[in-house]
């Protein structure tokens, strides 16, 4: 086992966002206030809103790979290729046994199952028309496995099922595999293809938790009084993670260091969040980083735009930060792109990493009438702000059935 004192850094970022197919494009749109949410129609459910990605899968995959594989796989493959290229790494130069792929997922297989049942309906539900691809597409490791096939990676791969905390937990798994010495390069983060299943829209709607708005770009509005639910989105972010010593040895560009993390369980409810456990998760992540709440410069919130959830996160933040809540900047990325589910944590972190270098914090958009229960002192609304410095970001991700995962990412000082 490698020494636990090893430090883990982010050296590459691969982004598929509803408002950007690269980190540069994504970041530019976050600073320019450009939403990625569009009108969307899905079978059975009808018209709604969604964040839809428009990256070109054929940039990285043959058409047959796309046909045989899954949408989650295509998003993963795209992000993995981008993350490696951004890190200045080529598989041809790496030992493929020492590269691993760790992908967080909210769920997987619903899209393929719904599609196949729909296809079967055209044949009077005679199962002899059921595709043999079903099992390979729906095994839970599939999106990460598709990356290994595409890139010729023969080290470990698996997916991490962690509801909407999955993007962050995928990063933690990559970090842990590096610390364990299982891999030298970890491709880690999260993806979601959930907009291609009607079930997620219908279920949120039945829960009265699906956003409605006359204007799609205004539908995702965390912290606003008129918020009325979640905009479901697809997307992905995979990071190239390496040990600091390796990154320094090869002169890699370093986006930041994962200095702290925590994942815990609410143990209270299938759906409702638990601000006590959220606060505990944040505090433990901060402590693991050797920091105090006052050392955090920016909190990127999980808030999804549900009336109850946003308030609970704000309550947890007040509990964690105490007086320091007066100085910590707070923003929200879902207001631009909706809720990218299993990708959310990683994608939202990616959108904020450039703050270490440009010193700008992206705002929260669509807050026209701030809910007083969400009025954190430095919640940044409307316009980006140039600040003195951003050295440490706290990134929240919380998911159904009570799963929380918090990352602390710091400016890397070798």
């Amino acid at each position: 086992m490698k020494a636990k004192s090893e430090r883990i850094v982010i050296t590459g970022v691969g982004v598929a966002s509803p408002n950007g197919n690269s980190l540069a494009e994504f970041r530019a749109n976050l600073l320019a206030g450009v939403s990625g949410v569009q009108p969307y129609h899905i079978r059975y459910f009808g018209d709604t809103h969604a964040g839809i990605c428009n990256f070109d899968p054929q940039k990285c995959q043959k058409r047959k790979e796309i046909r045989v594989g899954t949408r989650a796989g295509s998003i993963s493959v795209y992000c993995a290729n981008e993350a490696l290229a951004d890190a200045g790494l080529r598989m041809a130069d790496l030992d493929p046994t020492r590269v691993g792929v760790f992908v967080g997922l909210t769920e997987h297989g619903n899209v393929e199952t719904e599609n196949e049942v729909y296809e079967l309906s055209k044949y009077d539900y005679d199962v002899k028309y059921w595709t043999h691809h079903h099992n390979a597409r729906t095994v839970a490791n599939s999106p990460a496995g598709e990356v290994t096939i595409n890139l010729g990676i023969t080290g470990p791969h698996y997916t991490v099922g962690a509801a909407c905390a999955a993007g962050n937990l995928g990063c933690v798994n990559g970090l842990q595999q590096l610390l364990l010495g299982e891999v030298d390069v970890a491709i880690a983060g999260g993806v979601s293809e959930s907009i291609h299943t009607f079930g997620i829209f219908a279920a949120f709607n039945s829960q009265n938790a699906l956003a409605t708005n006359a204007d799609s770009t205004k539908a995702s509005r965390p912290f606003d009084k008129a918020r009325n639910g979640i905009v479901v989105s697809e997307g992905g972010t995979l990071f190239t993670l390496e040990r600091l010593s390796d990154a320094l040895a090869r002169g890699a560009k370093i986006y930041g260091e994962i200095t702290g993390y925590c994942y815990n369980s609410d143990a209270t409810d299938m759906v409702l969040p638990n601000p006590e456990r959220q606060a505990e998760c944040m505090l433990r992540a901060i402590a693991r980083a050797g920091l105090e709440p006052k050392d955090i410069d920016l909190v990127n919130t999980h808030a999804t735009g549900t009336p109850a959830g946003d308030v609970m996160e704000c309550r947890a933040l007040r509990q964690v930060f105490g007086d320091a809540i007066e100085r910590v900047y707070v923003n929200n990325t879902k207001s631009f792109i909706g809720h990218c589910m299993g990708a959310a944590g990683a994608l939202e972190l990616a959108g904020n990493l450039p703050s270490f270098t440009d010193g700008i914090i992206h705002p929260t958009i669509n807050v026209d009438d701030l809910d007083p229960d969400c009025a954190l002192p430095r919640l940044l609304i409307g316009q980006p702000r140039q600040v003195d410095k951003v050295d440490t970001i706290l990134n929240n991700s919380f998911g159904m059935v009570g799963i929380n995962c918090v990352l602390i990412v710091s400016r890397c000082r070798p």
């Binding site: 058409r63 047959k64 046909r67 595709t131 043999h132 691809h133």
Partner: protein, 83 residues
């Protein structure tokens, strides 16, 4: 369907299954798998598409009869002649 139409139908199915391959100018007497990047899973897709599009059942024991374009046509002709 005529033998020519059956041949065109088979090529059309294969084109969808291996979209990166050039299916024009296939040698009808040469094994399809020697001319195209066609694996066993693709072969199952061909069998499924024949079932879906033309109601043809190809039992596993008969799979070798689909080895070449010509042998496909020979095998399918009796079943598709009146379609």
């Amino acid at each position: 369907m005529t033998r020519e139409e059956i041949g065109e139908a088979i090529v059309e199915i294969i084109e969808d299954i291996v979209p990166d391959e050039d299916c024009s100018g296939l040698n009808p007497d040469e094994a399809l798998r020697d001319q195209l990047e066609l694996d066993s899973m693709d072969f199952l897709d061909i069998v499924m598409e024949l079932r879906k599009k033309y109601g043809v059942e190809v039992p596993e024991a008969d799979y070798p009869k689909l080895a070449t374009l010509k042998s496909c046509i020979d095998y399918l002709e009796p079943q598709l002649a009146d379609k």
